[in-house]
Symmetry: C2
Subunit: 147 residues, 2 copies
């Protein structure tokens, strides 16, 4: 049962789709890194932590809320811990609480306006409201599990 190869038009769509994500992400990431030394993932973790009241969260909850693999998060946290952006507290056995350090919070606050500016410049301000609307809808569709 042979599958038809992608048509030229389908190929164009595929390449467009690939590019779209990649270079916007790269630009925003570079902006943040250049201004603060934080990487995209660093910023993501810090934001999520700060967004949750006291700036502390169970590691697993954190992983789920970012859609990350536990291993990925563990590696990332180890690196962030070395740079003193976060701390790990072992609450009970098998329960690790991730805590935003003072230094981490400062870095985050410094990065926030850069991030906001970059996202607007590289994404939001370039698109019409209808296009943005479509993006959100499409993202929801594509995020669903396999049918």
């Amino acid at each position: 049962m042979s599958i038809k190869p992608l048509s030229p038009h389908e190929l164009r769509v595929w390449h467009a789709f690939k590019l779209m994500g990649e270079d916007v992400m790269a630009r925003v990431g570079r902006d943040i890194a250049a201004a603060t030394g934080l990487s995209g993932p660093d910023f993501g973790v810090l934001s999520r932590l700060a967004g949750c009241g006291k700036g502390e969260m169970r590691q697993q909850t954190l992983a789920e809320s970012m859609g990350w693999d536990k291993s990925r998060l563990s590696h990332q946290l180890t690196r962030m811990q070395e740079r003193e952006l976060i701390e790990r507290l072992e609450a009970e056995k098998r329960v690790v609480i991730v805590v935003l350090t003072r230094h981490g919070r400062e870095k985050l606050e410094a990065a926030r306006p850069i991030h906001a500016g970059s996202v607007r410049r590289n994404l939001l301000s370039r698109l019409s409201p209808e296009q943005i609307e479509t993006i959100v809808r499409v993202s929801n569709i594509l995020g669903e599990d396999d049918e």
Copy 2:
């Protein structure tokens, strides 16, 4: 001169945008890898090579045509060379020709239908023609250099 933080709606758009690219790419990549052992980048390079008639191309041309950094391509080719997917021929001094090997071509042919199926399943068939149209247009807009 303070910059306003991203509004909740802007944040939702940003997260949607981030997710969209990442997980479609991941799914297609996993499909190809599971079926053929090729990674996404591997497949990209092989396709590009095969798409150019005799399956050989100057390294620099290849880099440009994929929008890659020369260093990135060099690393990638070294890895692919070890797995005998491609060869490097030194034509003249300072000119390296990348050649698709027999084995590389076979792998590519095996991967093509998988790729086509996966792209359709994870992207094309889930969206309406208008949504696809918007994606392409948005990608062109976002791909432009800074204003």
